[in-house]
Symmetry: C2
Amino acid sequence: MKQSMMFIPTLREVPSDAEIRSHQFLLRAGFIKQVAAGVYTYLPLAKRVLNNVEGIVREELDAIGGNELLMPALQPKELWDESGRWDVYGSELMRLTDRNNREFALGPTHEEVITHVVRDFLNSYKKLPLTVYQIQTKFRDEARPRFGLMRGREFIMKDAYSFHATQESLDEAYNNFVQAYTNIFTRCGLNFRMVEADSGQIGGSQSAEFMALAEIGEDTIVYSTTGSFAANIEVADLPVGAPSPDGVGVVDHAKGIEVGHVFKLGTKYSEPMNAVFLDENQKKQPIIMGCYGIGVSRVMMAVIEQNNDENGMIWPKSIAPFDVHVVPVDVKKADQLEAAEKIYADLKTAGFDVLLDDRKERAGVKFSDADLIGLPIRVTVGRGIADGLVEVKVRQTGEVAEVAVADLMTFVQEKYETLA
Amino acid sequence: MKQSMMFIPTLREVPSDAEIRSHQFLLRAGFIKQVAAGVYTYLPLAKRVLNNVEGIVREELDAIGGNELLMPALQPKELWDESGRWDVYGSELMRLTDRNNREFALGPTHEEVITHVVRDFLNSYKKLPLTVYQIQTKFRDEARPRFGLMRGREFIMKDAYSFHATQESLDEAYNNFVQAYTNIFTRCGLNFRMVEADSGQIGGSQSAEFMALAEIGEDTIVYSTTGSFAANIEVADLPVGAPSPDGVGVVDHAKGIEVGHVFKLGTKYSEPMNAVFLDENQKKQPIIMGCYGIGVSRVMMAVIEQNNDENGMIWPKSIAPFDVHVVPVDVKKADQLEAAEKIYADLKTAGFDVLLDDRKERAGVKFSDADLIGLPIRVTVGRGIADGLVEVKVRQTGEVAEVAVADLMTFVQEKYETLA
């Protein structure tokens, strides 16, 4: 795509209300724009990243038998009365009335709706198990929206629900989700840990959080430096240096951002909402449920928090908004612009997503914007083009090479292969 | 995908509150489920169709330089005060207050938000024109939600906005959108007309609607039976048989469902919202705007309304939820199930989206469900498999052929090519 036709409103100044790096860079690089406290527009570069994350989520969840569907944001009070949550949810639940004074919630989560949607159909053990998911907008009226996309009031979530006749079937789905989530976060380029979460409140259920490690995280993780143990400090409040509960090594602490959560719900919603099936003995049983969430917009933020330097973002190639940035230094020089346009076309033919900076801006502005946006590979077309040479810069390593135009496609393809 | 793992809650009975065919079939074939009046869950088959429609929309809008972004549903009252619409919009606008008693609208459209988002950036004629779009959920508190997805309170829309320094630039974008919309609706398999819409109210602006022809349409189209003239009856109230205004033939009437709308907004929002740019003479001018909508969920409904028979839906292949339905008649017969699974795998390898009906249901149930869902091609694996034969049925034509398994891939590929 040509940059002159794209909406990338980069800023020179660090916005004063942005306290953390990822928020600052999202604003400075023209990825998001605030509409109200905790409410954002995702600008074109962010939308491309979100589309990439969503694509990875779909692939991994389809692979474990997930059915994609789409539920509404408007949820009638009646369903929340059935589950008993209308009266207990508190002021995080955004509520409104329609023109006939019927009450609705703006969904912060969809357990009630999905239980309503499936309960007539899942009337026999023969129709179980079933796994569904959606990528959809959620609403939570946070008391203190902050850190940009980290704690917003309107955000994008992938939520999934599974339905089972037996505990073993739930266990299997839960394990499948743990594997799918591990794949998703790995593919998105996150450094994360799966940690035990608070599982005691609802008898017999199990819960784990996926934490992206980051200094700005709001949770503290207790983990074994040499073993596989990891838990939220709310579950295992052990001091640094204590023996690890799994018997391997000692524990250390780290801060984490919750990007995913898997949870064995059991019959918490199916019992009050009368979602029952007939078992093999024709006996009515409440459906056993699991639920599984990923903060899609928060994943984008966590990746930036983990991958940046003083100049801007550094995208892993799996979710980068474009693969390659082609930057003619001076578009008023015909040889530079023509060469850049040819390289742009050739890279697209080779299957890359390419951004061509065809703007009439100074070289300094173009280079600093390019570093800020942080695409994996930059091809700079400057004066060297007179000798058939361009410059290739790798954002992840900072490596810079002068390459003959004749060798460029092979060079970029080989270099791109080696990147994370 | 295996049907036993999919959520397709087909119904035997026609729901009594569904008055029109497309609504009846959407309910009966397990495509949608009502959550509240005018508020629906899109079940997996519908979500697949929506994903296909959205893919076509993205391709055509990217081709005319559109930037995809994503705006929030929550819109602060302040922005609507700026445009003056808060007080005039009426009870269709869903309103709520947050925990701090700040007022918000749930966006029925996004002129205010997009003007807010771009106005700081588009400060010079050098940055114009710009075209952005989103595929997003809209809210309108219809007095009388009805006809399923036709007039809902929460629905999926593609809305686009263009920004210009000159009227000529707006005219060019408008014409590009007319062409893109023509491509989109054609590719979705719709029989439609572009008609002149009410363009008199705002001086100098121009507006056209894209109408899918259908008996249940709420609008009446006046068109020339032999010429190219077509208009909404509100614009050209001519009786049947009158001479056509374009001088070619006489007019007839037809009913239509509005699926798209293109509109030259002019400075209706930029003037009150102070969205100005500096022209070549460094003089401040209000940005000239266009807006362009497509009812994505309504397109799905209009396609069904135009493509069905007494047995169910008949999908054009461009947006069908799957390409091929493989139906083993009796999965308890090992030879049928094994052959069907092999055909399923081979078709997937050949690049088809395939649904395998591996359910332990009676043949009658499976056939009537298959007709109801209406995938382009059905491969039935029955007793003939003992002689290496399967049956291929083409939903659009009703054609049935017995085909040797050895020839099946070639047969399906060639047959699929010929379909709309």
